[in-house]
Amino acid sequence: MSRKLHPFNGGVHPDGHKEPSNATPIRAMPLLPRYVVPLRQHIGAPARPLVRAGERVARGQMIGAAEGYVSTAAHAPTSGSVLAVEPRAVPHPSGLFDLCVVIEADGEDRAVELQPLDWRNLDASALRNRIRDLGLAGLGGAVFPSYIKLNPGAQAIHTLILNGAECEPWITCDDRLMRERAAEIVLGAEIMRHALGCASVLFGVEDNKPEALAALRAAAPTDMEVVSVPTLYPSGGGKQLTYLLTGVETPTGGRSTDVGIQVFNVGTAYSLYRAVCLGEPLLSRVVTVTGHVAEPGNFETRIGTPLADLLAAAGGALPGAVGEIIGGPMMGFDLLDRVAPVTKSVNCLLVKDPRLFPARPAALPCIRCGACARACPADLQPFEMYWFSRAKDFGKAQSYDLFDCIECGCCAYVCPSHIPLVDYFRYAKSEIWERERDKREADQARRRHEFKEFRLEREKQEKAEKFAKAAEKQKAAAGTETANPEEARKKAILQAALERARLAKEGVTPKNTDNLPAAVEKEIAEIDARRERMGAKQQGGEE
């Protein structure tokens, strides 16, 4: 090709092992009786469940809505009823459970009505919102919500790179996709170019995939460039491929968008084509099943397919298999539970056999040979980062740009002492993330505590002011009283009543014989006289 390549430093040449799985066309998985769709398949906040147990769903129906900015939707892979919305095993190195929607298929595979988008005439923001609701996330492994990446924002994007390097050994899903569906990938790239408003589009494909290169070249219009890059792990790393194709280095701690370049996986472009041109949400992806299996190959797999069923579709593991890896041998992790489902990030299920995947040899002390630094494609010094990560001196590890490590595994691959370097870096990174989380929480607590103290002080002051005001008002009221004749009259009445009460209290309690009318007095006098007479008579009788 005419384009001048800019080889990055380091990299390794592990055995490709692409042949077992890249010879046969992509096979469709049969409809399964049950699917488990995790709500957290992407980077960012998990989707908010929209369905409950017992509800009926159709294929393509949204069952989880994007929650917050960095999030995307999840959809039902087939029609049926929701069995449960509960934590289930997910493909994650921790083996922890996460919230999933379990769907029992009814066998009809009835779909919701799909609405293709007129993307050329649609407003860019409306297009992005539709893409979010169609659940698109990067299928290369990082599963970053695509709608955010399609927002050029403040930085103008001048170059779009479609990543078809697929440098990780064993994996061939992008290879098969490019061979078989190049036209659709190119259409997806066209939509991306439209959304980003960039001029230049580059496809980067490793030269161990000549068929894919040929297919893309046949499908791509003249203003898109299909570039063959030398096979070298990890040329499929976003930053590495960017440098390889353009010679532009991504700044430390930054993204390629900072230098005006956006990178998408070819699988994402294909899914974007389906989402926009057919209106179909991200319901399936191509997954490679390879290694120690009967019929290795690539499968068009619905999101939510249990990995055990996927393995069975490939004829099952051969006798002597010693476990599975999700992803490739360089960056993947051991699968802990086969009932875990395929998610948007699962690109490969690799069955290990003892011959090609022997147990890790015991590590020897670091001899500071520097092989890791020579192999590092990010130009880091892994032996220094290892030293400080091992000593839990995270600040020092960070000062050696730990967060520029892409965890590609080149350092551990070349280490003559077989030290699991990447394990240390992952450990150090997650510890630092936790500390940052704790720090944020502490800062928030400090702010809230300080505000509470301020609030209490303010309330106290307000109360004191209120009392002062009330007292002043009373004083003022006492001053104005005499000026008002009505008030004065009322006061006189009150005063008189008070005086009466005071006199009454002083003890001259009036008898009920006081102050009586003359008639009543006369009557009383008569009664008294009669009593006297009677008394005199009685006295006389006794005598």
Binding site: V90, H92, R360, A362, D423, Y424, E441, R448
Partner: protein, 182 residues
């Protein structure tokens, strides 16, 4: 001789004046050491150290009135960082001050009588509610200080340990076999 003395005295006076002016003009209001100590403390505001909050404890440490190993939520890691900052030897946490796993308070809403006592006790205003209305704890803002537990007259608040999930899971410290040197 005299002129030399006068010149030196003059320079001394001028420099002294400049220094005196600068010390008033550029006075540091807060003790920066307190801020630094406070930044290390976990801000749970739980008072387990015997001081009414993290800031008073930080002030006491900076004055040398309190030991650095009195903060259980900060853990041994916090003690280590305090020791590094202050240039003293780290020591284990005080007796009976083992750090507990992180937890949040949860109100049993069927039992809550709406007395507002917990709201007044919460140092970070993480409880919402009103008199005779049900109270509720904002989990994201709860520091797990347990200060709301004792005032509750119906014992309807309990601490719930925060379980690790996929988002907060951490890679473990790599444990691997080291080959013995022959």
């Amino acid at each position: 001789m005299i002129s030399a003395i006068l010149v030196m005295a003059g320079i001394g006076l001028v420099l002294g004046g400049v220094l005196g002016w600068a010390s008033i003009r550029y006075r540091v209001e807060d003790d920066p050491l307190v801020e630094k100590i406070d930044a290390i403390l976990p801000q749970t505001q739980c008072g387990q150290c015997g001081f009414p909050g993290c800031k008073p404890y930080a002030e006491a440490i900076s004055k040398g009135e309190a030991d650095i190993n009195l903060c259980p939520p900060g853990g041994n890691d916090g003690v280590k960082r305090l020791a590094e900052l202050l240039g003293v030897e780290p020591k284990p946490l005080g007796a009976g001050m083992e750090p507990k796993p992180k937890a949040v308070a949860v109100i049993d809403e069927n039992t809550c009588i709406g007395c507002t006592l917990c709201i007044q006790a919460c140092p970070v205003d993480a409880i919402v509610g009103a008199a005779k209305q049900m109270h509720s704890i904002i989990a994201e803002q709860c520091t797990g200080c347990e200060l709301c537990l004792p005032p509750c007259p119906v014992d309807c608040i309990s601490m719930q340990v925060i379980r690790e999930d996929v988002a907060t899971w951490k890679w473990r410290y790599p444990v691997h076999m080291m080959k013995r040197a022959a």
